[in-house]
Symmetry: C2
Subunit: 357 residues, 2 copies
């Protein structure tokens, strides 16, 4: 005889079910269908008649049913969660990272996924744990270095992953990023077009270059590259954060090259100080020195004067990254490299070069 309605083969003497825990079985019972039918209504993996569907959905709503994530993950072998791996280091471009993270969460939600926040300071073990415990279906790594210790691990893990940024050896990996090389070129081209013959790139803190962070190196390469091509003299300097450091750097720069008239700043934290310090050194922006930023639009807009800039499209990168990852999770093939095209927005901080003295 089938288990009658009154005699659930209750466990020996388990504590009563918490009343607020509605299971798929409750829904099935109330709707007068099998558990599997409810499941199929939810997943759409089999055809269910319209009338049954409606009835089931109504019961789900009434009972306030929410599938148990653990059970679902266990049975389906899909957690519907992705890991967002953030390094936790100095010199990070905090607002960009934040913008990016938010975009990832928002995008992931549109495809029914949640985001687990992982910091790399737990070391490779963190990644390994999260992947091996089947907590997540895929991994999103930010702020990848040229020689990133997480990269070999990633290959070994054998879980779908997408990197923001490019390691030196990207074989077998999926990477997205702004085309910083092109961004560097754009800046120089803009300044060269305005007649500037000597420009400087005020980059990220030295530590960022030292650990081989891709975007810094690639921007630098783009700048040098375009400068050579266009006959512009380019000097490149890392730049620490803080007004004092910026001032020191600028003083030394202008002393050595008094005819310096173009400045490319790739360091959010330095944008404000640069614009504040230049006037105190007798250089007006943009009359004497033109400044281009590689930074979020928000910063550029708020600066005084408003900054001509190549924005870092954190939102777009986040969206792309998630969408690539989802496709990899689904087993679809994806391009190994996705480079977003940078654009340059002209604002008030650049002007034609002053007449040669």
């Amino acid at each position: 005889m089938p288990a009658g309605p009154g005699d659930r083969p209750a466990t020996r003497a388990r504590p009563v079910k918490s009343p607020d825990l509605v299971t798929i079985a409750d829904v099935a019972r109330h709707a007068g269908v099998a558990v599997s039918t409810v499941s199929y209504v939810l997943s759409g993996k089999r055809v269910i008649s319209e009338v049954t569907r409606t009835r089931v959905l109504a019961n789900i709503r009434v009972l306030g049913y929410h599938p148990n994530a653990g059970a679902r993950a266990l049975a389906s072998r899909r957690a519907n969660v992705i890991a967002l791996v953030l390094p936790l280091r100095s010199g990070m471009q905090v607002p960009v990272v934040m913008q990016f993270a938010m975009s990832v969460v928002t995008t992931a939600r549109t495809v029914e996924h949640d985001v687990l926040l992982v910091t790399s300071d737990e070391g490779p073990d963190g990644l390994r744990r999260v992947a091996a415990s089947a907590m997540v279906d895929g991994l999103l790594l930010m702020d990848v270095e040229l020689h990133d210790e997480r990269v070999p691990l990633l290959r070994e893990l054998g879980r779908p992953s997408v990197l923001i940024g490019f390691p030196a050896d990207a074989s077998g990996l999926t990477c997205v990023d702004l085309d910083f090389h092109r961004a560097g070129q754009l800046c120089v081209e803009h300044l060269a077009g305005l007649g500037h013959r000597r420009v400087a790139l005020l980059g990220a803190p030295a530590a960022v270059y030292d650990r081989g962070t891709g975007f810094a190196h690639r921007t630098r390469a783009g700048v040098v590259d375009a400068a050579g091509r266009l006959g512009v003299d380019a000097v490149v300097r890392p730049c620490e954060e803080g007004t004092a450091a910026v001032r020191r750097e600028l003083v030394s720069l202008l002393e050595r090259w008094p005819d310096l008239s173009g400045l490319i700043v790739q360091n959010e934290a330095a944008v404000g100080p640069v614009l504040a310090v230049l006037p105190t050194l007798g250089r007006r922006v943009p009359e004497d020195v033109s400044v281009v930023g590689v930074c979020p639009d928000q910063f550029a807009e708020q600066a005084g004067p408003r900054l001509t800039s190549v924005p870092v499209p954190a939102e777009e990168v986040g969206r792309q990254a998630v969408s690539l990852l989802m496709r990899r999770v689904q087993g679809e093939p994806v391009p190994a490299a996705t480079l977003l095209d940078p654009t340059l927005t002209v604002r008030d901080s650049t002007a034609p070069a002053p007449a040669r003295r």
Copy 2:
């Protein structure tokens, strides 16, 4: 051949287990013990002899076993994950939020928990979903407003939670935050002690006050409070971000009260601009105007001149929040309100008030 009844009770013809998926059963088999024994070794919930323990642990290591999070959550009714709910709004103190988030992740890891990142822009449904699906054991809400729509929901959800910040009605909730009221007082007391008789609070953007964000209101109250008590004239102004906005505000302020000699800035984004703009208005810092910041130490250190400040101890708040949440998850009683004592660090931006003209 058809799957006859005499077959091993193995599944009919399921795809072979992925070889890299090591289960607790594999460990048990290799160690020659029961599955439950392995489980107890891992959880320590029953005494296991030293010799067995060692053997099991060795096998775990060799096989590279990692418990499946979904299965564990299902069986134990504990996900070992907490949700970190971030609002995604304008005027957010991005670096503070980030610092805080990182501290939460790091602390959570020390107690074997992971962090699920949830944004409030999904609305209350996001919270409801995450809680009802048993994805998380508890919730951490940041940037709570005085009249926060998430607060009633939280009570209804009936899951352990901790708020960063205080809503108007905090009954039944657990809250942590810096004592911003005291912070406001500290700033005024410091300035008053230096002989300043008229000070201004340059606060968060107006939007932040409008939506009733606790820390902004409480700081203001603290400032007004101490000013009244100490016979100092205090004027309070919200302040938008961006150099232009800051300049406008300062100009208007100094025009109206030329004898203004103390400035309290509670807006990370405004600190740089304030220090940059004041000299251009003929006010040296600290000779003519003393400036105190309520902002992360990092900002204060990097400013030029180095800023006297009341730091927001994001790290400490994060640690406290997680630890409170864990205790609530464990069912232990916790204090309803935890207020962290602010401290004021004197640096180079404050000095005795200039002589009265």
